[in-house]
């Protein structure tokens, strides 16, 4: 009954508002990043050198591709091809997991080298470096958390499509999840150069 009050534009609009607030959630971190980078630009350059650029680039490609598969999944559901939609949705989830997998190993190797928040070895280094890694862990961590949530949502959508709860007519939940997924991708598009490419 209540659902009839909703309409498609309204729901998309609401989703966009949510995305805007997500942007500002990361926005707070971007403010911090820009200040600390300004204060310690030299050290940030050096510290960025120690990050694994190929892995970063690979992860960028993974997320970009997952954005494509996401868009295709929506495209096929709209065109009444749920099996294909499911296939691409599965690919998206897989790529998301792949991203997290890489991220995990990247973090693990840093931790292994004694570079993690509050690590005794790290605290002895330059302050700029402590800040760089503080931001690195906070920003990629928060982003990783969003990927995780995204994967959760995508899996729910997967089940919904399987069960026929969403289809070409009731496609909105999938579309909104897609919007969220693309936003997560966009945020990574900024994180990547800011952390890996500033050497």
């Amino acid at each position: 009954m209540m659902e009839t009050h909703k309409n498609d534009i309204g729901s998309t609009f609401g989703m966009w508002l949510f995305l805007l607030s997500e942007i500002l959630l990361f926005g707070g971190l971007f403010i911090l990043y820009s200040v600390y980078r300004y204060n310690h630009s030299q050290i940030f350059h050096l510290a960025a050198d120690a990050l694994n650029r190929p892995v970063g680039a690979l992860n960028t490609l993974i997320l970009l591709t997952s954005s494509l598969t996401m868009a295709l999944s929506i495209f096929f559901l709209k065109n009444r091809r749920p099996e294909r939609s499911l296939f691409f949705l599965f690919l998206t989830i897989f790529l998301g997991l792949f991203f997290l997998f890489n991220k995990y190993f990247e973090w693990a190797s840093k931790v292994h080298h004694g570079v993690y928040p509050n690590a005794p070895g790290l605290l002895e280094r330059e302050r700029g470096e402590v800040l760089f890694y503080g931001l690195y862990y906070s920003m990629t961590g928060l982003h990783g958390f969003h990927v995780l949530v995204g994967i959760g949502l995508l899996s729910v959508m997967f089940v919904f499509i399987l069960r026929g709860k969403i289809d070409h007519e009731r496609i909105l939940p999938l579309k909104n999840t897609g919007l969220y997924w693309h936003l997560v991708d966009i945020i990574w598009i900024f994180l990547f150069p800011l952390f890996y490419l500033i050497t």
């Binding site: 534009i9 729901s11 607030s21 707070g28």
Partner: protein, 528 residues
């Protein structure tokens, strides 16, 4: 058609309330939750006043006092005034006033009430777990909040959760206003209350995440020590303050804009004429919301921020005063050549104008650089914000309660008693808070458990004021609570209002309108 109270669908009794997606029921859920926390906050304020009645220890120890003013601030800000008017009256009346059957996302609306309750629960839980009640002040400034041994992590997390609820409410209201206006309800036919809640909702959506991430980082700082805010690790504590106030200054407009909306509803109704300068009122709301988002640095004039930044923030701060002034002048002009009946809602609205003006004008002293160096973190500031928050938002809330009470509950309260309650409140309020301004000018710092002897007499007067205020509050609420059960039945439109909520029965039926109305005139057209 039966009122929404009789409506029982899937669930009955209490469950029919706490799982209802009806915006009116959710509004009332907020009303009772918020008033409950308000009562606690008020009690804590009262205890502080007792402690400060005389120098030296009176009824508690320093640590207790520090915890109490923190809790008082956290409850009053995050559990009372920020959700206050939008969540109660916005929920109840925004859909009705634009001619809609509900908000755009009813289930998310219910979810945000639950999130609010979770946050409140965690805040209370933080008192009894970890290292005990937080003692940082409601601002959680680093590095103190990183060093103190009390339960900062949970408290900060609770506030983070509350922020979530605020964002969801904001998303809901913005979407509702854009999408669900009845045919013919153009932007310039919206009641000003809707404008105000709409602008507030944008602020909620856009700046709440900033405090979210700030608190999250503070939490991480406590748990794993990332070092971003910790000066011992190279972090800059002033950046915490920037991020905190990027949210918390606009938050004061989250508190006051809906209140201004309420006042703009009440005055035309009781003056029987349309509001003076409707468009100016609408645009000034937007101006306050926009400019107000860029003045946060005025909380940091003596923090060690650069002089240039202070100068720019001071200038911007002064610019916010102009649209606020426009509103005050337009309200006063609305009285001109009206046909005025000083019913209780109007009495509170007029008092709002007076007290808010004092509060706002004292804000100007703080906005001016030279004077703020002296006034910052003194009782002047405490006086300022109680005038704007309690004198402003608080009195607007009282006004809103008396204005919409018959509509919400279908009963009318005793109409004489509010005048007595008002007199006590007014006298008590000024006895309580005006001395604070003098104390501040004389140099009494805030958040002081104890003070030097020269401040004694003013502190003492202030405490007496709190007792008078108590009496007023109790009388006011006793009347309302009594009338809730025993008041006589109210008619659909007891005040002769012209906005949509007055055109339907009291209390409103479940879906508000049997048929979505078609709007052909502005909100304050009293002459047909």
């Amino acid at each position: 058609m039966a009122g929404f109270y009789e409506d029982e669908r899937r669930l009955r009794g209490i469950l029919g309330w706490i799982f209802s997606t009806d915006h009116k029921r959710i509004g009332l859920l907020y009303l009772f939750a918020i008033l409950f926390f308000y009562a606690i906050g008020v009690l804590l304020g009262f205890l502080m006043r007792l402690e400060l009645m005389a120098p030296g220890p009176t009824i508690m120890r320093p640590q207790t006092y520090n915890a109490i003013f923190t809790l008082h601030g956290v409850i009053m800000i995050f559990l009372f005034v920020i959700p206050g008017i939008p969540s109660i009256f916005g929920n109840f009346f925004l859909p009705i006033q634009i001619g809609a059957r509900d908000v755009a996302f009813p289930r998310i609306n219910l979810l945000s009430w639950w999130i609010y309750m979770t946050g409140a629960f965690l805040a209370i839980l933080s008192l009894f777990t970890g290292g005990g009640p937080v003692d940082t002040g409601w601002t959680f400034y680093v590095p103190y909040s990183l060093r103190t041994s009390v339960n900062v992590p949970l408290a900060v997390f609770a506030v983070f959760i509350l922020g979530f609820s605020s964002i969801l409410t904001g998303i809901n209201f913005v979407t509702t206003t854009h999408q669900l206006r009845a045919p013919g309800m153009t932007w310039f036919r919206l009641p000003l209350f809707v404008w105000a809640v709409y602008a507030t909702a944008w602020i909620q959506v856009l700046v709440t995440p900033v405090i979210g991430i700030t608190l999250l980082l503070t939490l991480m700082e406590r748990l794993v020590g990332v070092g971003i805010f910790d000066p011992a690790k190279g972090g800059d504590p002033l950046l915490y303050q920037h991020l905190f106030w990027i949210y918390s200054h606009p938050a004061v407009y989250i508190m006051i804009l809906p209140a201004m909306g309420v006042i703009s509803e009440i005055i035309p109704v009781f003056a029987r004429r349309t509001i003076f300068g409707y468009k100016a009122m609408a645009f000034s709301i937007l101006a306050i919301a926009v400019v107000g988002s860029f003045v946060w640095g005025h909380h940091m004039f003596v923090s060690g921020q650069s002089d240039l930044a202070s100068i720019i923030f001071s200038l911007l701060t002064f610019l916010v005063a102009v649209p606020s002034g426009v509103k005050v002048f337009n309200w006063v002009s609305t009285l001109y050549k009206g046909s005025i009946e000083v019913a209780p809602p109007l009495l509170f609205a007029l008092t709002f104008i007076f007290l808010f003006s004092i509060g706002g004008l004292t804000g100007l002293f703080q906005g001016a650089l030279a004077t703020d160096v002296h006034l910052h973190d003194t009782y002047w500031v405490v006086g300022h914000f109680h005038y704007v928050i309690f004198g402003g938002t608080g009195f607007a809330l009282f006004g809103a309660l008396h204005y919409w009470f018959p509509k919400m509950f279908g009963r009318m309260y005793h109409k004489k008693i509010p005048y007595f309650a008002w007199a006590l409140l007014f006298v008590g309020f000024n006895t309580l808070y005006f001395p604070m301004l003098i104390l501040g000018w004389k140099g009494m710092p805030r958040r002081y458990y104890d003070y030097l002897p020269q401040f004694h007499s003013l502190q003492w007067i202030s405490t007496i004021g709190s007792w008078i205020l108590i009496a007023g509050l109790i009388l006011l609420f006793a009347n309302l609570i009594y009338s809730l059960f025993r008041g006589e039945k109210a008619e659909g439109n007891p005040w002769g209002g012209a906005t949509l909520e007055w055109q339907i029965p009291s209390p409103p039926p479940r879906e508000n309108f049997a048929e979505i109305p078609r709007i052909e005139r502005g909100p304050y057209e009293f002459r047909k």
